[in-house]
């Protein structure tokens, strides 16, 4: 569906995207995971024909966003990270407006948005600007879907949204997949990666890895340990001083730690920390998650 072939984009001297390549299959729910400033929005804007890449090629369903942008825009639905509907128009007016602009009607494609729109329909006379965050999001999704796009591009749809609305939103995306719509979604939250079919891990304009969430986790080589107890900050500094330690970073109430050879040197570390004066340290083996893989990739790149 989407074929990104070694694209680069610079803003002046700052390199926003650097030689990026990946493919998105038809009907896939594809996640682009990365921290703020990784280049996710820039990437999306290039795919959407809103921005020209400095080099490289993109094709969406065989269409070139630079040359065929007119045909492309008919088959793509876009939900920007920031709420971008007309706040002074009502829910209903926004939906009708975007339907007309795409040369269709709400009735024609109502089946697509029914599940989502029904939840905000009681407020259809309310100005869009007066909706709550979760409702705004549902309206934006409805408007992006109203012309029955083949590709849905969602730029950080869950940023700044509460936990309940977030999980609701993801289940809506899974419903949409059943209509055969390809979805590409960006998020800074690692825990949302596991909800995608495949993910691309992005950092500073580069793609670190493209794989299914399970493969991302499986690609984590070696054993991972959770270290806890005592003063966390001191514990990090002490662990870093230990020769065998490869990576160590805080993760919730624990430190996630791996050793250079991927082996298990728990007893040695325990001894080392005891000598440094940390007595009540507990170290346990844990299952690596996507974030662990992300951190490991970041450390090596």
């Amino acid at each position: 569906m989407i074929d990104v072939d070694s694209i680069s984009k610079n803003y002046g001297k700052v390199s926003a995207l650097c030689d990026l390549s990946f493919k998105v299959r038809k009907g896939e729910l594809f996640g682009v995971i990365g921290p703020d400033g990784a280049g996710k929005s820039t990437l999306f804007r290039i795919i959407l024909s809103l921005l020209l890449p400095d080099s490289g090629k993109v094709s969406v369903k065989g269409l070139d966003p630079v040359q065929d942008y007119k045909s492309l825009r008919k088959i793509v639905g876009y939900m920007p990270g920031r709420f971008s509907l007309y706040e002074d128009l009502s829910v209903e007016e926004n939906l009708n407006f975007f339907a007309s602009v795409f040369g269709t009607t709400v009735e024609e494609n109502y089946h697509l948005i029914k599940g989502i729109y029904q939840q905000i329909e009681p407020f259809r006379k309310r100005p869009a600007g007066k909706l709550s965050g979760g409702m705004k999001q549902k309206l934006a999704l409805s408007c992006a879907l109203i012309h029955q796009p083949e590709l849905l591009v969602l730029d950080e749809p869950t940023t700044g949204v509460d936990a309940v609305s977030r999980s609701e939103f993801w289940s809506m995306l899974h419903q949409l997949k059943e209509f055969g719509i390809t979805i590409i979604v960006s998020t800074p939250y690692m825990d949302e990666a596991s909800l995608c079919d495949r993910v691309a891990l992005m950092q500073q304009g580069r793609i670190l890895e493209v794989a299914s969430p399970q493969d991302v986790v499986d690609n984590f080589r070696g054993a991972l340990f959770g270290v806890s107890g005592g003063n966390m900050y001191r514990l990090i500094l002490d662990c870093r001083d230990f020769d065998m330690v490869e990576t160590v970073f805080p993760f919730g109430e624990e430190l996630h730690l791996s050793f250079k050879d991927g082996g298990d040197h728990r007893t040695d570390l325990h001894e080392f920390l005891k000598r440094r004066g940390s007595d009540e340290v507990s170290i346990r083996t844990i299952q690596p998650g996507i974030e662990d893989r992300f951190m490991a990739l970041m450390a090596t790149s």
């Binding site: 920007p80 709420f83 975007f98 602009v101 795409f102």
Partner: protein, 369 residues
Amino acid sequence: MRILFALLQKEFIQIKRNKTILRLIIVLPVVQLLILVNAATLEMNNLQIAVYDNDDSALSSRLVSELDASPFFRMSASPPNVESGISQIEEGTVDFLLVITDGFEKDALAGNTSRVQLLANAINSQQAQLGFAYLQQVAHRSMKNFAVEMQGIVPESKISTTSAFWYNPELNYKFFMVPGILVVLVSVVGMFLTSMNLVREKEMGTIEQMNVTPVRKSTFIVAKLLPFLIIGLFELGLGLIIGKLIYDVPIEGSLWLIFGIGTLYLIGLLGLGLLLSTFSSSQQQVTFVSYFFLLVFILMSGIFTSVDNMPEWGQKVNLINPFFYFIDVMRSILLKGAGLADLWRQVGGILFLAVTLVTLAVFNYRKAS
């Protein structure tokens, strides 16, 4: 076509929802025409004048009483000496001080030149000049009458001047102001509202959503500008009605011509609004920039002061001032009944500006987005 209709419908709903703008569209012309036309008068009356009469003769008291009778001047109490008269000017209690020296009447009777001295507070130079001219007139008349009475003969006068004020026989200042204020009004709608409306799409981020729709840029622009063209013409009509009803401003020429040239003028200003909006990313910025242009255009346009008095470079600048052309057009059509043939220069100027501004704006808009 359906897309254009949907866009227009959206624009009108938004304008209708924006109660502040809606009220301004109605109230602005009424208030501006009611207040500004009456207040912004350049007519001179009630200038404070003090007379120090050292001659105290029949001729000098005649001059003083004629000045007193004139509507332009209002007499203050005579100062005891010249110095205190001057200090009155310095304090600002009088605008003019007339000093009539001893021997004023004697000189006149002897056939010599009689002299008076006029001291004026020239902080407002226009007022000082006009006051001086008025006083000269009054003085000449007094002298003439005096001569007639004394010698019983009509002094032979080589040139007799009679004046007639064409197109505005009563020198009604309001007839001069109404067309000017009207132009300002129409322009504010054309420039401010348009540019702010366009920048608003950027500011709110809605342009991002519009840009991924199949809507053509040209369609989008037309849908943005058309409502303000309509509102601008509505303001023009409303202003003319107010001018006619309240000030009885004559409408000598063709209304069709006014609205025809008005449409062309508005297209140019809408282009300017669009151009300004491409340079700005917030409503605050665009307001500030529009304000700058508005102020320069208004003050250069000849709405208050005659353009002929401006230095040559100033008159050159007016060649690219749309206000200048349209104010001229409005005054000529309303007061003189000018037709298209008389106005080819102004219409040419407006046409040139409209084409240039719209081209620049569209070109820049494409580039910017």
